[in-house]
Each structure stands twice: as C-alpha cells, then as structure tokens.
C-alpha cells in the first residue's frame, strides 16, 4: 500500500504516466518495458512506424485490456485499478472513425455525454460550446454522413472534450486528411494545450507535424528509443531534422508484418 502511495505521489504531476508497461500476444512481444510521461499542458508526439506497438499501447491506456505488467496512470489514477476515475479524466480520438454516420452531430455528442453520465440539458449546452470551439456550431443538426473527413475529426474532438478531460489521446488523427484539414486539426489541438492546459499525446508517423518544442517519444518494435524534447532528440542523434533523427534511431528500412 505504501509503495502505491509513493508511486502516486511521484507521478501525481503527470497528466499521463506509462510506467514499465510490457505486453505480449502469445510469444510475440508488442511492448517491452515502455515508460514515459506526458506533462499537463504539453504536446507530446508518439512517433512510430506501423507495428511499433502504438495500437497496443493505446488499448492499454484506454483500458480495453490490461497490460501483462506495468501501470498506466492518468493524473495519478491507475487505469486498471481506478478505471472509472482515470477514464473520466481522459478524452480519446481513435484511429477509426467512431461517429455514427446516420445520426446527427448533436445526437452523436449527446450519446457520448450520456456515456459519461452528463445530463441531457447540460450535455447540449456543452456540445454547443465545444462545437463552436472547433468551428462547427452550425452543423449540430446535420447528419455526420454529410461532413468532410476533416470536419468529422473536429466533431470527434468536440465529443472527446464534452466530459472536460484533462488529458487527450489522439491515435493517428490526421490519417487520410488533406493538408488544410491537417493544419486545422493541429491548430485546434495545440490551442487546447495552450488555452486549457490539457495534456496531449498525439500519435503519428508524419514528422512534419512536430514542432521543435514538442516532446517526442520514439517507439520502435515495442521499445522506447528516445524520450525528450524534439530539439534534444535531433541533437542526440546527431541529425539535422527530427525526420533524419527518427530514421537513424529506427535503423535501415525493415519489413514489418503487422500494420
């Protein structure tokens, strides 16, 4: 018990702390002693190729399943032991589109609000505010089907913020978006970090989304190869850019079976 308290006090400042997490599917190791933290009001990029273990890590953080060992805490709340408290502080954008295309934007948000125990009236008021934030206040009665890919992503951000999370998790949020939509989405999320003090973990394999002052975690074949400010990662690798640093860290191109 005392060790739990000690661990909590040590990590209480982190929006997200991933502590020595390992996981395997049968003999195949997906995550090996992965540790890193995301500070509140910070933009952390999780950089990794397909098959690096990002999906497994997301499943563990969102409590879809428990890791074989290690712990994940959100503001000090253990996802496995206090999942309710931890999940209420967490907003998630999954890689797949999870909006119901036949329902309206407002109905999708209302459903999410209900899942988080928010009363319908309160939920509607919050939805209006969050949709205004992402510039879609006038689309609340439109069916999701009629939105563009970028707009759907922004609706998902509004939805993820509905229960006022302090930590936001985004799994390849820009996949399939055009340049303009990508820039818009990044701007909205960076705004959340600056204005609301939300901690963000942003997964990508596109290095041009990274700014010099972002924190970067490089995940490769289930291991953390770098965990530092982007500029420091570049310097440590003796590279000229984060893209070059990433290529040097992950070595020559290797064939990866899993996507």
């Amino acid at each position: 018990m005392s060790s739990v308290l000690a661990a909590q006090s040590k990590t209480a400042v982190s929006a997200l702390s991933v502590d020595n997490v390992s996981h395997a599917y049968g003999a195949r190791i997906a995550l090996a002693e992965v540790s890193f933290t995301v500070a509140p009001a910070s933009f952390t990029v999780l950089l990794g190729l397909n098959g690096a273990g990002k999906s497994t890590l997301f499943s563990v953080i969102t409590h879809l399943y428990a890791s074989r060992s290690g712990a994940v805490r959100i503001f000090g709340r253990d996802v496995a032991c206090e999942s309710g408290a931890a999940l209420s502080l967490l907003g998630v954008l999954f890689q797949q589109r999870t909006l119901d295309p036949d329902l309206t934007v407002g109905q999708n948000l209302a459903y999410h609000g209900a899942l988080h125990g928010i009363r319908p009236r309160e939920s509607r008021a919050r939805a209006a505010g969050e949709l205004a934030r992402v510039g879609l206040a006038d689309r609340v009665h439109d069916k999701v089907r009629y939105l563009s890919g970028g707009q759907m992503r922004r609706v998902e951000i509004a939805r993820a913020l509905l229960h006022r999370p302090r930590m936001l998790l985004l799994d390849e949020p820009t996949a399939g978006l055009d340049i303009k939509a990508r820039a818009d989405l990044l701007e909205v999320v960076r705004g959340l970090v600056a204005d609301e003090g939300i901690g963000v973990l942003w997964t990508t394999h596109l290095v041009d989304e990274i700014r010099d002052d972002d924190h970067v975690v490089v995940l490769h074949r289930g291991r953390v190869l770098a965990d530092d400010a982007s500029g420091s990662v570049v310097r440590a690798a003796g590279a000229g850019s984060i893209g070059e640093a990433f290529r040097r860290l992950t070595g020559p191109v290797q064939e990866e079976g899993e996507s």
Binding site: Y25, G26, A30, S55, T56, S59, T62, H63, L64, Y65, A66, A80, S83, G84, A85, L87, S88, L89, L90, V92, F94, Q95, Q96, R97, T98, D100, D102, L103, Q107, A110, Y111, H112, G113, A114, L115, H116, G117, I118, R119, P120, H163, R164, P165, R166, E196, G197
Partner: protein, 278 residues
Amino acid sequence: MSEAFIETERPFGWGERVICLYGIVWREGLRFLHQRERFVSALVRPLVWLFIFAAGFRQTLGVSIMPPYDTYVLYEVYITPGLMAMIQLFNGMQSSLSMVYDREIGSMRMLLVSPAPRWFLLTSKLVAGVAVSILQVYAYLVVAYFWDIEPSTWWGYLTVLPALALSGLMLGALGMLLSSLIKQLENFAGVMNFVIFPMFFASSALYPLWRVREGSPWLATACEFNPFTHAVELIRFAFYGQVNWIALGVVAGCTAAFLGAAVIAYDPARGMLMRRGG
C-alpha cells in the same frame, strides 16, 4: 479550470448510470429507426413462417390438448410463441453482429472508455437490444391478431411481457458472448448455421416435444436441453397467463451464465480482446 477538474473527479454514481443506460437505449432506438430494412425483415421473417409454413403444415400436424392450451389449437396458434422467440433469437444474434461491427468501426471502444463499470455498459447494451426485440414482437402480434391469433384474454399481451424481457436477455447475452468469440463479420454465416438453425429447429418452437419423441427420442432429449425450448415454453405459458416454472428457472439460469461469461470475455484483464489485440 480547477472547477472543471473537480467536476471530472465526481464519482460515477447511480444517477450517472441511469443517464448512461438511457443514452445507450436511446441510441439503439435511433439506430433501429434509421434501419427500416432491419425492422421490415424482422417482421417479415415470422410472418413468412406464419402465413406460408404454418398454413402448409396445419393439416400434417395436429396439436392435441396440452398445457397451457385447454382446447385443440390450430397449428398457427401453436407456433406463434415459437415465432416470438425466433424474433428475439434473430435480434439477439443481430445485436451480436452489430457488436462485432461496432468493434470493427471502433464505436465499441468508444463505449468501453466510458467511466461506467464494464459489466454495467454491457448489460445496458443488452437491455437496449431487448427493448428493440420486444417492439418487434409486439409488431408481429398486431399482425397475428388479424390472423385470429390472440391470447385467451387481453391480459396475455401484458403477462407475456416479463417472459419476453427474460428470454430476450438470455438470447442477447448469448449473442454478446458469441460476439466476443467471433473475430470478423463474415463469420456471422457460421452463427446462422451453427447457432440459429440448430437452436430453432431442435426446440419446441415448431412441434410439441411429445411429437418429436415419437419420431426420435434422442432429438427430444436434445430439445429438452436446449435453452431455446425453455424460452419458447416460458413465452407460451406467459401468453396464456401461466408460469412454466421449469422454463423460468432454466431461462433465468442460462441468462446469468451467458451474461457472466460475456462479462468475463470482455474483461480487460482476462478477456478475449487481449489475446487478439482488439
């Protein structure tokens, strides 16, 4: 900002759970309204059995006086409880299909990141499916009424409701359990062949068990062990304002067993999801 922080720390109490349950049922209802084909096919399927199969069979298969009937009944009357259960069987399997689909498009994961306990989320999902299946059954009963199929008193429409709720829960829980085992959508054809057809045909839905026993004693025994038989009998007796206690016990027990197994299958630490990687 500190205020928002305190608010998210609020525990997920029973008030929140009621809102959560309501939201899940509401969404299922909306989706059902948007899928008219699903409603139509759910209604047409038993009507095909009633209008064509039963009409063709009524001369071949006479049904003698047996509880809960106090007179000779037409074959259409006999198979109506079986068709009511069939609607729920298809609905339960279809909601399992929709859970597999939900998992593929990710909305299952959205459901599971709710701070509500997982058993509560799964049960809510189940209740939502049962509510839809009961609507379908009553739609069928309205049509059947005009075909002169009705309970002995109007109370039958009310007394059958708890039986429908329980049998719906059992079949929905079975579907949920299967959904954790089915890897992909295509395997639903397998569910049809290996679950729906055997359960439906090896039951008392289409023929009384004593008739089955005359033809094949072992099949009659198999029918007796089939939980679907008991769902059918529970509904049949309830439709005539009676309780079949054995059926009630079997259906309640199977509901608990299937639901328990489904909750374990979706449990983060032990579940099937882990082995597969979501």
